[in-house]
């Protein structure tokens, strides 16, 4: 009985002490932001569409060594430039949904200011309405990667709330087919430059 008690004591001590020892001090945050995005280069999204505007929600998990992972879900809206309808097609109301998954690194500049850089993959889903059909959508998806950075300003002494501005570059590739490689490239690739500002809550 005594031995059993000792065993229990030992096990519980080991188990709990281990748990404490290996517990990672991961902090998380959620954020909301507004985005202005401009596709650049010689491609359909850059030449035939106006700049995109939209919003995004995201979250990050940050470890004590200042590396973390994050996700952004963005919805962006645009219009076809007047006079470019013949090339863009008989479709309208372009909407782009972007899911960014990235690794992020934080640098503490001061108590109030932090800088974060990120790099990762992106999934894009583009949808347009067929102008000639009721409620029917033309959809295609793309993949690519993203690079970005943001400057954060901490609002309260406990560090729960922050505002930020940031920039991001997204590389976009889809699988549209045309037998002419120039045309395929024109419709199938793009590079997006975007600016964002928003609010973050740490917990």
């Amino acid at each position: 009985m005594k031995n059993l008690l000792l065993l229990f004591l030992l096990i519980s001590t080991f188990v709990f002490s281990q748990k404490k020892k290996y517990k990672l001090d991961v902090v998380s945050n959620i954020e909301a932001k507004v985005i202005a995005m401009k596709p650049i280069g010689n491609n359909s999204l850059a030449k035939n569409l106006e700049p995109f505007y939209g919003f995004a929600f995201g979250g990050n998990l940050m470890t004590p060594i200042n590396f973390g992972i994050g996700v952004d879900y963005s919805m962006l809206f645009s219009n076809v430039i007047f006079g470019k309808e013949n090339i863009y097609g008989n479709i309208g109301s372009p909407k782009l949904t972007v899911i960014d998954l990235f690794l992020t690194h934080r640098e503490n500049i001061s108590d109030d200011f932090k800088v974060e850089e990120m790099a990762g993959f992106s999934y894009y889903s583009q949808s347009n309405l067929y102008l000639d059909q009721d409620k029917s959508k033309y959809k295609n998806s793309g993949m690519g990667f993203n690079l970005g950075g943001k400057i954060l300003y901490i609002l309260d002494p406990l560090g729960y709330q922050a505002v930020f501005i940031g920039g991001k570059v997204n590389f976009y590739y889809n699988n549209i087919y045309n037998e002419n490689p120039e045309i395929q490239k024109y419709f199938g690739r793009s590079t997006f430059l975007s600016l964002n500002m928003g609010y973050r809550f740490n917990f």
Binding site: G89, N90, H105, A119, L147, I176
Partner: protein
């Protein structure tokens, strides 16, 4: 290092994306020759399965560029006026019986018309 890794894995992802003919783009350019059409009204259209996927007016010299999303099926270039004859860089095109459509066979997604002559 992180950046390098991202680009590496990203490019693997991209390599896996095969071109998909269900998700095609039709692109047609060329010139319409006519003596009597009104350029403000006359339109060319790309039609697939009775859906207009693209339409355009002509430039002042009769040239045009038109593009729209299509799937892997036949499509046609539809003119608002009857077509007398046409000449293009691809074979297998045919004029419909009502002379308003140029039927474009499967596998052709890019076309250049030297001329499309209208009856009018």
């Amino acid at each position: 290092m992180r950046l390098f890794l991202s680009i590496l894995i990203g490019s693997i992802f991209l390599g896996c994306q095969s071109e998909n003919r269900e998700n095609s783009r039709a692109y047609i350019e060329g010139k319409v020759i006519s003596s009597a059409i009104d350029y403000k009204i006359y339109k060319l259209k790309i039609v697939q399965d009775d859906v207009i996927v693209a339409e355009t007016f002509l430039e002042n010299d009769g040239t045009f560029k038109i593009s729209g999303p299509i799937s892997y099926r036949n499509f046609s270039l539809v003119s608002a006026e009857k077509i007398k004859s046409f000449q293009s860089d691809k074979k297998g095109l045919s004029l419909s019986s009502d002379e308003l459509k140029i039927e474009i066979p499967l596998e052709i997604t890019y076309l250049k018309f030297n001329e499309i002559v209208l009856e009018k």
